[in-house]
């Protein structure tokens, strides 16, 4: 509360006669108060602490020893696995994220119509995402991609003979994880769907009157009006793509040949399995900067392609 009053005093532009509930600063801080309080209590301290730890040698059990930039040096100069994990992560992000978004958008468009049974389809297609990262997924995924698995027997139906064990093959294994990522398209799909529902019907009605075909309607109405949602999904999927962890842990364990040793997985191993918490924190901060840069670029370019109804925001 103190903060709000300070802010108000400092703001000379605001006339003293404006009542409290119209003062944008008071109103603004009141609304964001829940987050702000939580941010200070639950987030700021852990984050600052992890920043400090990134300059230390810390195995959790003994107290941290300050070693300056050693962790960062090791990361960039002398740890070959680090670069392998960077490579695997970028590979995943630049394939799985676009695939998942396109897939999600197509399914959302398919589901965005009024017809009998639509609720059932919608629920059915959301189910894959409800299984999440459970062990059941690992079991099923092996069923599909093993040498005598479902994929190979399906391929055989089309006359393609293959006995590749997809999950253990250095080239293909990462693709099984990418496909898993695309398969769990539920959350971006749902967000697209809500976005599509929000586009007023009147826009389409008048377009139909003007004689616009499906393609024209899609590219001139749907897509532009959906850009805030596309933007949101893109940012979120990018962030979560960079953080891919569970699938690598439970399905492939990082292998084979470390081709699925994703950044977050390697970070986790360092921090908890190798007792190098300081190194893990340093890795996390580099990750933060990299994701931050990508997000910044997206935000900066967003004004050229994201269409907002209200420009006040």
């Amino acid at each position: 509360m103190k903060k709000i009053f300070q802010k108000t005093k400092n703001n000379h532009k605001i006339k003293p006669s404006i009542p409290l509930q119209d003062n944008e600063n008071v109103v603004g801080y009141t609304f964001i108060a829940p987050w702000l309080i939580g941010f200070f209590i639950f987030t700021v301290y852990p984050i600052l602490y992890s920043f400090y730890l990134s300059f230390t040698d810390y195995n959790i059990l003994s107290s941290p020893k300050f070693i300056g930039l050693e962790n960062y040096k090791e990361m960039f100069v002398s740890d070959p696995l680090y670069w392998k994990s960077v490579k695997a992560t970028f590979y995943y992000v630049f394939t799985a994220v676009p695939l998942r978004l396109i897939f999600a958008l197509i399914v959302a468009l398919l589901l965005c119509r009024e017809t009998k049974g639509i609720g059932i389809y919608r629920s059915a297609l959301y189910i894959p995402s409800l299984i999440g990262g459970s062990v059941a997924v690992a079991v099923m995924w092996r069923r599909i991609f093993e040498a005598e698995g479902i994929l190979n027997s399906t391929l055989a139906l089309f006359g393609i003979e293959s006995n590749i064990a997809w999950l253990g093959h250095p080239t293909y294994t990462i693709w099984t994880i990418i496909i898993l990522g695309a398969w769990q398209f539920g959350s971006p799909m749902l967000i697209f769907l809500s976005g599509l529902k929000q586009i007023p019907n009147t826009y389409y009605e008048s377009a139909v009157i003007d004689g616009a075909g499906w393609f024209k309607r899609f590219f001139h109405i749907t897509l532009p009006l959906l850009t805030p949602i596309i933007f949101f999904n893109l940012v979120m999927q990018l962030i979560s793509g960079f953080m891919i962890f569970t699938q690598g842990l439970i399905i492939t364990g990082g292998g084979p040949l470390n081709t699925t040793l994703f950044y977050a997985l390697y970070l986790y191993r360092n921090a908890f399995q190798f007792g190098k918490m300081g190194y893990g924190c340093a890795m996390a901060w580099v990750m933060l900067v990299v994701i931050g840069l990508f997000t910044l670029v997206l935000f900066k370019t967003s004004k050229y392609w994201v269409h907002y109804e209200a420009e006040e925001g």
């Binding site: 603004g28 609304f31 609720g119 409800l130 059941a136 908890f272 990750m287 997000t295």
Partner: protein, 280 residues
């Protein structure tokens, strides 16, 4: 004309059914396998429908372990996901409105902070957070999991914000002329219009908490406090044989609550802005 519509409808349904089957195959496999006798699960894995149906897996799985059965795990999951979702939805909507429609000083700075907090891997803040909750003596209760949900989730704030920003500003202005304050605009104009976003938030928030593993693992150590996600993980220990039937049966059951939530709320999802009477 009518004939054509009907025909395209049939095509649509055929495509959708095939597509759903393809997408759901792994899930169906899990569902049907949970009714197979334990020794058949892998031996007849290529078959979807069981030769012999049994509910033995559900009985053996439900018993749980360490003297705690699955009704306790279900109850715990409901407690965490239920209260947590209420907290997330209420706080996130408030914060989102603040960021989206109020021009206060320092807004961009705080917004950047919020987005940044999403980018730090959990594994890194986990230790300091645990030490903090330990000092508060909150470990082994639901407090470390539930209290933070009342401080809004950045993902949801951003999500709702994007929806609010899609609402024409003219509506706000019209309400302002009618004498509404910012608070009034929030309750009378914005809130009813962002229903799809709120519903989406509810569904996600519920499910993500239902599925959350790391949080309960660290803070709920006693088997009596375990949630479904931990309980399921305990079934699968790689150093010993697993009760696969029980695991698949309980995994199947664990999807149901989230699915029910989805099924109930999706009706509201459909009634978006398109049906709330806003025209042009």
């Amino acid at each position: 004309m009518k004939e054509k519509i009907k025909f395209s409808n049939i095509i649509y349904h055929i495509i959708m059914i095939l597509f759903c089957f393809l997408m759901l195959y792994p899930v169906l496999w899990m569902f049907f396998s949970s009714f197979k006798p334990n020794e058949d699960i892998f031996a007849t894995a290529h078959k979807l429908i069981p030769d012999k149906w049994t509910i033995e897996n559900y009985i053996s799985g439900w018993k749980g372990f360490g003297g705690v059965s699955f009704d306790v795990f279900f109850k715990n999951s409901f407690l965490y996901s239920g209260i947590g979702t209420i907290g997330t939805v209420v706080s996130s909507v408030l914060v989102a409105y603040g960021f989206a429609r109020v021009k206060f000083k320092g807004r961009d700075f705080w917004f950047t902070c919020m987005i940044l907090t999403m980018m730090l891997p959990v594994q890194v803040v986990m230790i300091p957070q645990f030490i903090m909750f330990h000092k508060l003596d909150w470990v082994n209760s639901f407090k470390p999991l539930i209290v933070p949900t009342f401080t809004a989730g950045p993902f949801f704030v951003f999500l709702i914000m994007q929806f609010i920003r899609g609402i024409p500003i003219e509506l706000d202005e019209a309400a302002k002329i009618d004498g509404c304050s910012k608070y009034g605009i929030f309750f009378r104009v914005i809130l009813p219009l962002v229903t799809p976003a709120i519903v989406t938030t509810t569904i996600f928030s519920f499910y993500w908490k239902w599925d959350d593993f790391l949080g309960p693992l660290l803070y709920l150590s006693k088997p009596r406090l375990y949630t479904m996600s931990i309980a399921l993980k305990v079934f699968n220990d790689s150093t010993t044989t697993t009760n696969w039937g029980g695991l698949l049966a309980m995994s199947t059951l664990s999807i149901i609550p989230a699915l029910v939530i989805f099924f109930i709320f999706q009706d509201y999802l459909v009634e978006g802005i398109a049906t709330t009477g806003i025209k042009g």
